[in-house]
Symmetry: C2
Subunit: 468 residues, 2 copies
């Protein structure tokens, strides 16, 4: 980007003021932010602001923003709601460009709070400042080393990667999720809180041009300006997948939205329509924004909706076919050549699903060779668009054995492949998952979640093809 986008003031500021509690060792406040800025590391200048401290974590603390000698690009306000308007005015006078208002007690608490929130917007406009929040944890730019998250997360760095998250809630932040345990990494996170100024469409447009972001996940409770969102989302989703979790389907839930971020959930059917016409892939569970995104991060897009299944369990085959239908996939009618090759391995195998189960006793520890051969056959079959593989993690079939198989598969990975494993210890499954994802093969904790991920990819691929 040649011109500086207004969101750069939030994500890549030359200096950050932290206003409110800034003491070290407390689980909330500027002390947590400073620790993260040191660790990431952030290269700009940090100005802690608090009238009752002289110094924190080796940095000078200023009693007031006006006393700061240099320029301040971004301010993070963590005071009680009562002081926020006054602090914002001082920020404006100081020439601050961007403000993250962490404080709550605004639109989300009703009429009185909404009035207060409107006041913030007015102050910001008069000084040409932009606001993220209020009632937010703010932003992370994991490349620039910026974070405004004021809650202790309990791990150091956030793994770097290509997923960016836009959210109207804090629970996609690093203080809520084990980003250190995931194999894929995070690029940027926006928690928009009550969304009194900067909104989801602004962020989406920003991420459109962001080369480091390959996949976008959004959690929204409402869309402020439908037309603008549709225009932007349609454009962005042609360049990169956009997954969206929109909550508040039922009337009770819509009422709860009003008291969460002070917004109106709107008619769910309308949202369904918006997502369909913009190519945004709608998901329905909290974890989907990470789990389904993982498939997009690791795997190529499918060419169609025909699913090949390689399993160890007849019961799982049947359940999977039901799940596949639910997610717009059909059981692939595999080629005669595939049947021939599968039958050569074992006369029971020449059909889809390929059930390696009955032959397990005969295969023994050699079963991994059979897996890779079956996967290879499906990779070559033009009647198969995506592949679901079920593995068995146990003390005898240890994950180490799978390493070679995953390595071999990852070299010929021309179609999306996802796996689920069951096994006799939860830790065997976790070990297997880490090894698989080390070779970019996504692992899921349940079989339906794996199929849902393929369903999302298939839906998105169809959208992309229809625009080609």
């Amino acid at each position: 980007m040649s011109k500086r986008h207004f969101l750069d003031h939030f994500l890549n500021p030359k200096s950050i003021a932290l206003i409110g509690t800034v003491k070290e060792g407390w689980f909330f406040g500027g002390g947590v932010i400073i620790k993260d800025l040191f660790t990431f590391p952030y290269k700009g200048t940090i100005y802690p602001i608090n009238p009752s401290l002289k110094e924190t974590m080796g940095i000078k603390v200023f009693p007031n923003i006006k006393e700061v000698p240099g320029r301040i690009e971004l301010a993070v306000i963590m005071t009680s709601y009562k002081y926020v308007p006054q602090v914002m005015r001082e920020c404006g006078e100081k020439g601050v460009k961007a403000v993250v208002v962490v404080s709550d007690g605004f639109g989300e608490i009703g009429a009185e709070g909404r009035k207060r929130q409107d006041e913030l917007v007015e102050i910001a406009r008069s000084f040409k400042m932009r606001i993220i929040g209020p009632n937010t944890v703010g932003v992370v730019d994991n490349i620039k080393g910026v974070s405004t998250i004021p809650y202790e997360k309990g791990y150091d760095a956030i793994k770097k990667g290509s997923l960016s998250i836009i959210s109207q809630t804090g629970i996609y932040g690093p203080q809520a999720l084990p980003f250190d345990d995931y194999t894929f990494g995070i690029n940027k996170i926006f928690d928009l809180g009550n969304m009194c100024d900067v909104n989801e469409t602004d962020c989406l447009e920003y991420l459109e041009e962001d080369e480091d972001t390959k996949v976008i996940s959004m959690y929204i409770e409402n869309i402020k300006k439908g037309r603008a969102f549709i225009d932007v989302a349609k454009r962005v989703s042609k360049k990169k997948p956009v997954l969206c979790l929109k909550s508040g389907k039922s009337a009770d839930a819509a009422r709860a939205v009003a008291s969460h971020t002070g917004s109106m959930a709107g008619d769910d059917m309308i949202y369904d329509g918006i997502f369909k016409q913009t190519g945004v892939v709608r998901v329905d569970e909290y974890e989907d924004l990470l789990d389904c995104a993982k498939a997009f991060i690791y795997q190529p897009l499918p060419k169609g909706n025909r699913l090949g299944i390689i399993t160890l369990s007849g019961a799982n085959s049947i359940l999977t076919i039901d799940d596949a239908k639910r997610h717009g996939l059909v059981l692939a009618d595999i080629s005669e050549e595939s049947k021939r090759q599968l039958n050569q391995i074992n006369p029971l195998l020449g059909r889809n699903p390929v059930d390696l189960g009955p032959a397990t006793a005969a295969f023994g520890l050699e079963i991994f060779n059979f897996y890779t051969r079956c996967i290879d056959i499906f990779m070559q079959d033009n009647n198969v668009d995506s592949i679901f593989v079920v593995l068995y993690a146990t003390s005898i079939l240890r994950p180490e054995y799978y390493r070679e198989a995953f390595k071999a598969v990852s070299k010929k990975n021309t179609k999306p492949i996802v796996i689920w494993s069951y096994g006799t210890k939860e830790r065997y499954n976790r070990e297997l998952a880490l090894i698989a994802e080390g070779y970019s093969i996504p692992h899921y904790i349940t079989s339906p979640k794996a199929i849902k991920a393929l369903g999302c990819m298939t839906k998105y691929a169809r959208w992309i093809d229809s625009r080609a």
Copy 2:
């Protein structure tokens, strides 16, 4: 049970013959079964049968069943399908009462296999033997110390408990599931395989009278005799909850059923009708038979469908209300007294969902006291029938802190309560889960799974009330 039920020959036999591979140290066969029978321990006599071994694991091996000096009550046949009819005849002549046919190559492989299977049934009838299988791993009686599971599971004992499983697949057996990692225990497991003789209704009827079984989970692909099932299921479900996963909803899946256990899936609508009129609670995912069962094992039944939510996240509240609707629950309209008491804790709290999130910074590490107080208020509120609690597992709010809270809650646990936690390390969630379930409070890996479990309990409670 005063009279000996024919299934006692399978679950509590005085002697067991293991016919086929019986060598030690191999991951499949009689050697695995012997190891388990030693460990559990089984108190009866074990007869390994194999013409090419003299001894295995310190027990004499007989070349043929006819050479065994004592009586044989149960025989487990693990030979190639070719030898099964001959072995079964020998069993019949020897006076064997019950046969588990592990061998595959019968009804599940088509017309030829079905003929072979019919032959087994004829042989069994002529000798008044009963068959479980073929194409099965057989049975476990975790109280009597009996197992016919011929696959290595990688852990010693199966935790003892009150859940019994009836299944037309092996993947609910101890060789497929981490029964050692679960906090709840297992009582009996039946894998019925191709179900040529003993069927799901026989097992259900047996478990009706089994005092050790408190909850029954079933996986079925078809019901052989609808009328008999309806009569029995209606009766059993009045005494104890019966959960059922019926696969094969779609046409493709129904075809896959035919090639899994050689049975016909039938019209899914008919099954829905059967479950509704019998009070059997239908679930839709593999793990539900364990996850939902866990709620029944640990928690009392609800009196109605009004849900109280105590959370830390506004977004989760909204998603949960949507999930609740999907599972037949409604947001409880809490009493004025509850509102008053909640507002005394914090003026933001006096409504359902109770969102402790905004006040977290103020509560600090004291938050657990607030949790227990909120839960207590909901336990006392006659407008609340079940409770969902969201916890946050992080390095500062360590699971240890929850121990006291869970303990306090478990003492006043008069309504069903389930929890979900999110957190900054996967292991924090696991630790928290173990602690919670140590106090009989079921923990779920996703929020929708927790709500689904409450939904199942609510549905079952309504059935019980309607029969009262």
